[in-house]
């Protein structure tokens, strides 16, 4: 697929100061791009630097050196409030532990990114309902997170990630806390978003098996990209035929 470039990482270095003069470099010059509509996975063992990379991709952190462009915006020059705006509009986070806001209904959770984007009450309420419906949660919209199962929580989280129609969905071990059947369901939702809506998705995982489901697999080891391969996913339709 030859779309426009959504993620462009060039020679990304990230070091942490663990007390002078010690400096600990986690990422040693990472290069890769993700084009619009791609479903990419970044796979690596713990300690490979994938969390650090995810934080940089997610505009939660800035690289020590290198260039990172997210949907045409230069990240390493962005100020604090500009990073907030980027996270709000360009990135949809899906976390392993769902990270829904407690004591707040599923609907309000989905509304939250739109609220921070300054969308009107009625408009965001309508969109949140549509999104919850699209992940099959329309009958549980007023439930609070502690009244939902893990799979239901993650579906709400995906609806929330979609709220501001982001440039990419950044999913960090989205099935890590779920049993395999529920995990399958969640992965199918990602595939559906990718195939039916052409969403750009970056999946971060330690599991090679899960990464095989994506179009392109970027393998990270000790802070460097050690390989890139193609996945074996046949598409939702094909799988159902099988």
């Amino acid at each position: 697929m030859e779309g426009k470039t959504i993620l462009d990482l060039r020679d990304i270095h990230k070091s942490f100061f663990i007390g002078t003069p010690n400096e600990f470099e986690v990422l040693h010059g990472v290069n890769f791009t993700v084009k619009e509509g791609e479903f990419v996975s970044i796979v690596g063992q713990s300690g490979s630097g994938k969390s650090t990379l995810m934080n940089i991709i997610g505009a939660l952190d800035q690289p020590t050196a290198g260039e990172y462009t997210l949907d045409g915006v230069d990240i390493e020059k962005a100020k604090d409030h500009e990073l907030s705006a980027l996270r709000n509009k360009k990135i949809g986070f899906v976390f392993q532990t769902y990270n829904l806001i407690a004591r707040t209904s599923a609907l309000k959770n989905v509304e939250l990114p739109m609220m921070y984007a300054g969308m009107g009450r009625r408009a965001r309420n309508e969109r949140a309902k549509e999104l919850l419906e699209s992940v099959g949660m329309s009958d549980r919209m007023m439930h609070k997170p502690d009244e939902l199962s893990g799979g239901q929580k993650q579906r709400v989280a995906i609806a929330r990630a979609m709220a501001n129609d982001p440039a990419i969905i950044l999913a960090d071990e989205p099935t890590g806390a779920l049993d395999s059947a529920t995990g399958r369901l969640i992965m199918d939702i990602f595939h559906k978003l990718h195939e039916e809506q052409g969403k750009t998705i970056v999946l971060i995982t330690h599991s090679p098996e899960l990464s095989m489901e994506t179009e392109r697999i970027i393998t990270l080891k000790d802070g460097s990209i050690t390989g890139e391969s193609k996945g074996t996913w046949q598409g939702l339709q094909a799988k159902e035929v099988k």
Binding site: H81, A85, R103, Y116
Partner: protein
Amino acid sequence: MLFFENISVAIAGLKANKMRSLLTMLGIIIGITSVIIIFIVGNSVTKGFSKILTEAGADTIEVVVLPKNTKNLYNIDDNVREMNEKDLITKDMLNQFKEEYKDKVVGLVQAESVYGDSMDGKGTVTRDNVVSKVQIRGYSKDYYKYFGNRTKMVQGRGFLDRDYAEGKRVCLVADKLVERAFRGDKDAAIGSEIEVNMNGVYYTYHIVGIYEYARDGIDIGGTTSDPDNPTTEIRIPYETARIANHAQNEGTQYIDVVVDSEVDGQAFAPEIRDYFNVKYYAKNDAYNVVVISMADQVQEFTSMFDMVKIAFLGVAAISLLVGSIGVTNIMLVSVTERTKEIGTRKALGATNKSIRLQFITEAIVICFIGGAVGVFLGITAGTALLNLLPMDLEPAIDATGIIISVLISVAVGIIAGYSPANRAAKLNPIDALRYE
């Protein structure tokens, strides 16, 4: 608007930790309650006094024989010899005084209670086995002339010149007494004799009129808390009271000088004092005359009352301070508990500013609810407190006091919430997300 979302999030948070929220609010509640009490009692007392002053019309000056060195009525020197007849103000002295200042002094009000053998001046009237509490008090003619508006006649007549001059045994009774002693039959009461028992000493008077019982501001007519059986006054002419006390030829310790409405009582008062003291008390070894104008009295009371106000304000300030520390503390706890939530919100696009605002709003909501409860309790307690005061005061609840209290609560919320909110705002999103 984020504002309403923040409020609903804050309220949900408070509901989830009801006990903690309540304890946190306690300081604010006590503080605001004190503020409201100050406002209500302060306003009511001020209003009550200005009402008394305007109703009194002409200014009066109290002239009292007291030990030398006495500065005010609340601080009387008691290391002096006992007062005797020669220390008192005689009728002749009064007549001369009136003549001297006839263009300024319009009347002299005198009053005296009949004690009999009672210690406190309280006696009883028993009719048809119904016992009513009374006290006997004689007032001079000028009392009704200048303070007439304090007495409303219901039936019958007032006293005649002859009653005063001859010290006749006639009396006015309160309608409240007629209700008890005469079963409300006013016609039967008027013209009847009434026998008053002052601890074994009996006084009999002929009822000529009935006045309306009032729990008035400065009248001594009713000083009891029992509304069904109040101690009412049997009012007799001043001269009659003097005869009953076997004091008709003696002087008096206490008179009220009524001055012309053109005269400034506060300025005239020292002149009266000097007149008496130079003329009569220069050679007295222990006693002299002290004067107190009504304005002085109001001033005296106001300054005492101001002290009470300051004490209450101190309580309010300390409670609000402690309360705000409590709010800061609980907000710090809340920020720590919700570190992950803060991280998530930041990942979803919340700016530092909106996080700060969220937590400040929470602190404000806590303080606002505490303030609202305080306003309610303050109004309740303030009104109850007014009923305890020996004055009949209308509770004056004004919007200013309530608005100021609400503003104080909000201000405490902002001050108490700022530092925890700032801490939340400055959290690094990665660390916050990783927090378990």
